[in-house]
């Protein structure tokens, strides 16, 4: 028997793509052979995949442009801005539910379950559909399988939100090599060519999230000094505000409240978004809605628009100031300001940034593409294609543990470079105690109830000892993705201590596994369906051919029993035609083939004779 050697060559060169999984739009990028990051377009040449997922009445899952159209026709079957729901419980989103058409299914306390037609989807599953679409686009464009990706997340995402994003990748069949913070990714795209040095601020106002990051770029190292933000602030808020105003305006004009009418609201939503976008380039525009024969036209001037949204834009300023303070800098020390995210096209936003940082912000790169481009650069760093560049990012929120009286003891401060760690020793309070429960939170406040609960870690199977005798050393380690890992060791025995993790928000490992299985099953179901459809198409072709052959002289020349055999076979094929069993269809298809073999032969001979007769040699 011969031997073979496993070739790891492909593994090393394996393609890693960069994905910007945005609130409104998503993009995928790769490093081209020359080492430049490029956005990968879909089959239609479009770079942007709208972050919308819909379930068609047929049960088919639609993503992107097709799903966005469903938003108008079947608003109850589509979900947009799902990123705002990642890593959250239902109480967190009560406010937005008033404006979003989402239907929430039962059991949504720690993970939201969206009702889309007959399907129930968690936010990681909906995000996985978007990722799967991007993966398909990349595979079609590159002509090879894509299994690994770098995915960007808002810098201010907490542990649960990050974990949910990673889960989405796993469900989509992607190995997520790294989660990169969006503003940092943008700085990579900006800084790479120019060999920049100095202090750079990235102001990132996207569809649903706001981030501010301050970096020191030196000797190819991109060191994040501080970051801040708001995971619930972005263009969506401006859209919702305009939508609210327009709904009230329409009510006074039409004497009709359209807010409960999903289709009208989605049409109006599109209209206000278009008006918002136009106002970045022209001083005035009109919000237009035509619905059931009624017409609404409202002129909107930029100055009024700006007055309306000032409060929203101003909400970005305190995080900026805090970030400058945390970086230990003064405004004068900042060399450059970079704008990222579609909402930074708004002149009022640019003005606010310029006034705060006293510098004209850069926006040479398309603010909607720069994050995906940066993700591709990070993918290149991880796959060894980009050599001397290194990103040192930070954790946005302090990590703490609950101590007596519901007070938080901080163990890893915010803005610590990651990976970062802390080691604490725990003991028992009661004789013979076998468990110690550690409650880990994220946030800056002093009390547990004001911070975000992250998880409860149960140190199990502690040797029964008198109170205070056990000594368990627990190591909290935030990895390069900003995700917490906890390990524990019994200091007396040196033994690894088992830790059971109960995440406060998001999916457990078992749930993610179940969803991966479900997605395989779904894929199998889809595959079966396609097989059935293909078999029917073939059956249609052969049935049509037999019908046509029955007109041929050769058919009438067949013996009776052969003609009967053909009819029998055709009848049976028609019977199984509507079954869901493609194997059965193909089997009977083959029988029709066999039964008509002689007929086909005779027809062929007749045809050949005919041809020969007509040919003059």
């Amino acid at each position: 028997m011969g031997t073979f050697q496993i070739d790891f060559g492909d593994q090393e060169k394996a393609r890693v793509v960069g994905i910007d999984l945005g609130t409104t739009n998503s993009l995928v990028a790769y490093l081209d052979p020359a080492g430049h990051p490029e956005i990968i377009p879909d089959a239609g040449g479009r770079k942007i995949v709208p972050s919308v997922v819909a379930v068609a009445p047929s049960g088919e899952v639609l993503v992107g442009h097709a799903a966005r159209d469903m938003l108008i026709t079947h608003p109850e079957r589509a979900v947009y801005s799902v990123k705002r729901l990642m890593g959250r419980g239902v109480v967190d989103i009560e406010e937005e539910l008033k404006l979003f058409p989402f239907r929430i299914a039962a059991g949504s306390e720690s993970v939201i379950r969206l009702q889309l037609g007959e399907r129930v989807m968690t936010p990681p599953q909906a995000s996985a559909e978007i990722l799967r679409q991007l993966k398909r686009n990349a595979e079609a464009f590159l002509g090879e399988e894509v299994r690994q990706a770098v995915i960007t997340v808002p810098a201010y995402f907490n542990d649960a939100q990050r974990q949910s994003t990673k889960d989405a990748g796993r469900i989509a069949g992607l190995e997520v090599l790294r989660l990169v913070n969006e503003p940092t990714a943008a700085s990579l795209a900006y800084g790479l060519d120019k060999r920049k040095q100095g202090i750079v601020v990235v102001y990132d106002l996207g569809g649903g999230t706001f981030d501010i990051s301050i970096l020191r770029i030196k000797e190819g190292i991109f060191e994040v000094l501080a970051t801040n933000g708001d995971t619930h602030l972005g263009g969506d808020d401006i859209d919702n505000l305009l939508l609210r105003v327009a709904i009230e305006d329409i009510e006074s004009e039409w004497n009709e409240d359209i807010s409960e009418n999903g289709e009208a609201v989605q049409l109006l939503r599109r209209a206000v978004i278009r008006a918002k976008e136009e106002l970045s380039y022209v001083p005035q525009t009109t919000i237009q809605l035509e619905y059931r024969g009624k017409r609404y036209d409202r002129e909107l001037r930029r100055d009024l628009f700006e007055r309306l949204i000032t409060a929203i834009v101003d909400r970005t300023l305190p995080p900026c100031r805090q970030c400058i303070r945390d970086a230990g800098l003064s405004v004068g020390e900042i060399d450059e300001v970079v704008l990222v995210g579609g909402s930074t096209r708004i002149p009022l936003v640019r003005g606010a940034v310029e006034a705060l940082f006293r510098a004209k912000p850069h926006a040479e790169l398309n603010p909607e593409e720069v994050v995906a481009l940066g993700a591709a650069v990070q993918a290149g760093i991880l796959s060894g294609h980009v050599g001397d560049t290194l990103l040192l990012d930070v954790t946005p929120l302090s990590l703490g543990i609950e101590i007596m009286g519901g007070v938080v003891s901080k163990i890893i401060p915010r803005n610590s470079t990651i990976p970062a760690s802390a080691t604490e020793t725990f003991t028992t309070a009661v004789d013979g105690q076998r468990h110690v429960l550690i409650h880990v939170v994220q946030g800056e406040r002093e009390l547990v109830r004001d911070c975000r609960s992250l998880a409860r870690f149960d140190l199990q199977d502690i040797d029964p000892l008198p109170a205070g005798m056990a000594r368990i050393e627990v190591r909290f380690l935030i990895d390069a993705n900003g995700i917490l890992n906890v390990t524990a060791r019994d200091l007396r025995t040196g033994r690894e201590q088992s830790v059971d993790i109960k995440p406060s928000y998001g999916l457990t490992d078992e749930q993610v596994e179940a969803m991966i299985r479900e997605s395989f099953e779904k894929a199998e179901e889809d595959f079966r369906e396609r097989q059935v459809r293909e078999a029917r198409v073939e059956a249609d072709a052969i049935l049509a051919a037999v019908e046509k052959a029955k007109q041929n002289d050769a058919y009438f020349e067949l013996p009776d029993e052969e003609r009967q055999a053909i009819d029998r076979a055709v009848n049976e094929l028609l019977l199984v035609y509507h079954s869901d069993n493609h194997i059965l269809i193909r089997e009977h298809l083959e029988r029709v083939n066999q039964a008509t073999l002689h007929l086909a032969e005779n027809m062929m001979n007749a045809a050949v004779r005919g041809v020969l007769k007509g040919t003059k040699i």
């Binding site: 060191e223 708001d230 760093i381 990976p419 994220q442 800056e444």
Partner: protein, 221 residues
């Protein structure tokens, strides 16, 4: 991963079982090693309280280039784990060593001094009267009396000046210790650090009243 005795500098390479003496990579097979937990040793620095922060940053960048998980993405799980551990010690160490206060506390702890939080809560006797007055002003501010603001602003300036003086004093003591290695100097440093922490807490209270919004970090959603 095998943990090694933090007190010893020599251990065996997990990969080729060669003897490794206090370095990050095995001299034989070049495999990355479980990190030394001592920050000074990790950075290859002498245990001094006064440090050149420019040099520290340079070392930090160089070590980051060698140890960061990005560099081990395509390596074995064992090496990835070592890189993760080593990077976290590197980052934790940089955070502590670049800040003179945390650096001093780290050395004090290593030298067996108790530096519990509680010590920052005892009022230094020379500040008793000042603290009493400040608390009254803070109460007035909290009660909505804006007239107390100028007094509070004065207090802020005074405390900031005090802290600067303390920092100068600490710089002096650091140099003293680096030359003498005298434990009595460390004891004095501990006393000064406690006083500094106390004043820092006062400043925080004052600033919280003066600009309540600014002392809150961004929302974490």
């Amino acid at each position: 991963m095998r943990a090694h005795d933090p007190a010893s500098t020599t251990f065996t390479c997990w990969h080729c079982t060669a003897e490794v003496t206090g370095s990050l990579f095995c001299p034989g097979c070049k495999a990355i090693q479980a990190p030394v937990r001592d920050y000074y040793r990790f950075f290859g620095l002498e245990r001094k309280l006064s440090l050149d922060t420019g040099d520290l940053q340079h070392r930090f960048y160089e070590l980051s280039r060698q140890l960061h998980p990005d560099r081990f993405q395509r390596r074995s799980p064992q090496e990835q784990q070592c890189s993760l551990e080593a990077s976290s010690v590197l980052n934790d160490g940089y955070r502590v060593l670049r800040n003179p206060i945390e650096r001093a506390e780290y050395v004090l702890k290593q030298e067996g001094f108790d530096i519990g939080e509680q010590r920052g809560k005892d009022v230094p006797p020379e500040l008793l009267e000042e603290v009493f007055e400040l608390n009254m002003v803070l109460e007035e501010m909290r009660g909505g009396e804006e007239s107390a603001r100028p007094q509070l602003e004065q207090a802020r300036t005074r405390f900031q000046d005090m802290r600067r003086e303390i920092d100068d004093q600490l710089g002096e003591l650091f140099r003293n210790y680096d030359e003498s290695r005298d434990r009595a100097v460390l004891a004095r440093i501990r006393g000064v650090l406690n006083r500094r922490r106390y004043i820092g807490n006062l400043l925080r209270d004052v600033e919280k009243e003066l600009e309540p919004a600014a002392s809150l970090p961004g929302r974490d959603g």
